[in-house]
Amino acid sequence: MFRKSRLILIALAVLVGACAPAATPTVAPTSVPTLSPTVVPTPTPIVLTDGLGHTVTLNSVPKRIISIAPSNTELLFAVGAGDQVVGREELSDFPEAAKQIASIGSVYGKINTEAIVALKPDLILAAEINPPEQVKTLQDLRLTVYYLSNPTDFDGLYANIKVAGQLTGHDAEAQKLIDNTKARYAAVVNKVAVSSFMPKVYYELDATDPTKPYTTGPGTFVDLLIRLAGGQNIGASLKDQYAQISAEEIVKQNPEVIVLGDAAYGVSIDSIGARAGWASIAAVKNKAVFAFDDNLASRPGPRLIDGLEQLAMLLHPDLFK
């Protein structure tokens, strides 16, 4: 018996030992600038620290950018860098022009490293949706990767817009977008502040099992947007960011507004009302059940402000006449 456990211990020790030398050099190579400085002799290279703490140096404005997350594609187009994007992640479907760009695979399958290398990118914009191993694989291939952390609030979004502008040489457009977004944000928040009514909102992500559909909990953008739009997210009391909530709890909470982030999958007010017990919910009775483009709230990109405006209109239709 002891011999067996000792054998296994030895096996483990050998594994850790074998992996350690392989793992150590992996820490050292951060992004190496691949641009040759002879191309454009710019006196001031762009130097930024990314969300993983890597220093990213660009000696000239990148002309061949690959976006490996839908939110990043939207961000690049929003700051006017759409023409510099030569590759996009498969699910990047906004704006319309993005669909014309070559796809390099989906974040839900696997990003295709070969396709990325073949496009000879001078900048790859990654996001939190990309696993860190993927980022490291690209860096090991001596590609320049900037990892953009997800924002947690609108200030974080402004910071990301600013970075996107700096990286792509569109600082002025980025600043304009920030100012514009700030103004729209203030308009919504000021309007909503007038009302003392804070409707209870149930946001549905997925109701494959309608007895316990998925909703969004605290710390998500949906939660933040609902709060900013003058509502109370009934999922806010959950422990996790994305969790299943019991239908009984929804009926008990009796939300005044139901927002269907899963409307794209065929869920409607009729199908909601047909669920056992749901007909008694205030939102269903008052027909305050609305379809909503979940991409506006789940992608940490520039369209979050659209999401905020649309939610505010759904929650406070009287204020936005």
């Binding site: 018996m1 296994i8 793992a23 992996t26 696997k110 073949a118 000879k120 993927q134 694989t137 996790d240």
Partner: protein, 375 residues
């Protein structure tokens, strides 16, 4: 006493009780006669070489075969070629496609070798590398590492595969321990303990995944398609475990043949059944765990490849195991080529392809064998 002599003795001694074994021996002999002219090793090696070449030639980016050969040759010592190829092709070939090809071959070899040994050990055609906890344990280990964000810890990027490897081996060790009855470990108890511990580990994995919702996508991606880290590091990390484990399994072909007579008879024939069983479990679990750590839980290869080899060339484990190893490498390579070309540049998890293409192929072979009792 040679294996065949033992088989004959076995047949005469227990004519009624071991009908299955007798038939399997007969099939082995007849199929041996059938393919005597064409060496199974030659055929499977050619299949492997074709698969290797295809895997290097086919990818999201087309590389001229002549260019590819030149690039490969330029890396051979004492060969000097002036590089007239593009740096992009060289990077894709040497830093992406070649390491991936090697990793996939090692994974396929490990899964099929381990599957063949488990099938022999448990004398059960349904046995696969995951029967006694490798998959569920590796999944649990990987998800623990992801949920607790170990990739940002000292182990760096290897945290997930190391955790998966340790999880798999620990689970098998626990199963083995639990299955022990006195001084022996009956295979039935081993299978049942494996199923129970596996369910337990899977439940924990699911719970952890739901608790750390941000990591769910990553965890699912790992299980389906393995680790997203490319390059040579994963190859170097698993090479020692898989090569040592597979050498041990190949060497155990004869004891595995003897085990087919049943524990009691094998003991009478002088085999230290419990020790052999332990060594097989350790070696087979070691290779399967190493494969799973980087490649995720790829189904069907470990189950079907040994059966395909058995259908073609019989059940002699001295040959079945090495042929399964070669066949597994070739088979998984072909599946991986399909996985990356069907929807290129998108990639399908290779596990989907192994089952979708592998299952009908396997069934066709099974039907073609005219329901001969090949097992």
């Amino acid at each position: 006493m040679s294996d065949r002599e033992m088989a004959r003795q076995q047949d005469s001694e227990t004519a009624g009780t071991s009908n299955l074994i007798k038939r399997s021996q007969l099939v082995t002999l007849s199929s041996r006669q059938r393919v005597i002219s064409l060496s199974p090793y030659l055929i499977s090696f050619i299949a492997l070489i074709i698969a290797l070449l295809l895997s290097i030639a086919i990818g999201a980016v087309a590389i001229n075969p002549i260019e590819a050969i030149k690039i490969l040759l330029s890396r051979v010592p004492f060969v000097h070629l002036t590089p007239d190829w593009s740096a992009t092709s060289e990077t894709i070939l040497l830093s992406i496609r070649l390491p991936r090809t090697v990793l996939i071959s090692l994974t396929g070899a490990a899964l099929a070798g381990s599957g063949a040994s488990y099938q022999g050990l448990f004398r059960n055609p349904l046995a696969d590398p995951y029967l006694i906890g490798v998959a569920s344990g590796a999944g649990l280990g990987a998800v623990i590492a992801m949920a607790w964000h170990w990739p940002s810890s000292i182990l760096g990027f290897f945290a997930v595969p190391i955790a998966a490897f340790i999880g798999a081996l620990l689970t098998v060790a626990i199963v083995y321990k639990l299955a022990q009855v006195g001084r022996t470990t009956p295979v039935t108890t081993l299978i049942l303990a494996g199923v129970a511990v596996g369910s337990f580990a899977t439940a924990l994995t699911t719970f952890l995944m739901l608790q750390s919702s941000n990591e769910v996508r990553r965890a699912i991606a790992w299980m389906l398609g393995g680790f997203a880290l490319g390059g040579w590091e994963p190859v170097i990390a698993i090479l020692p475990y898989i090569s040592i484990g597979l050498i041990v399994l190949v060497a155990l072909g004869r004891p595995l043949n003897v085990l087919q007579f049943g524990d009691d008879q094998a003991k009478q024939l002088g085999l230290n059944v419990d020790r052999v069983r332990l060594v097989i479990v350790i070696a087979a679990s070691l290779v399967a765990s190493a494969a799973v750590a980087f490649s995720g839980i790829i189904g069907f290869v470990g189950l079907a490849v040994p059966h395909i080899v058995r259908l073609l060339w019989g059940s002699d484990y001295r040959r079945l195991i090495p042929l399964s190893i070669i066949g597994g490498a070739a088979g998984l390579l072909l599946a991986d080529i399909l996985a990356r070309s069907i929807l290129a540049p998108e990639e399908l998890p290779v596990g989907i392809v192994t089952a979708i293409i592998g299952a009908p192929f396997f069934l066709w072979l099974l039907r073609r064998a005219k329901l001969q009792a090949f097992w």
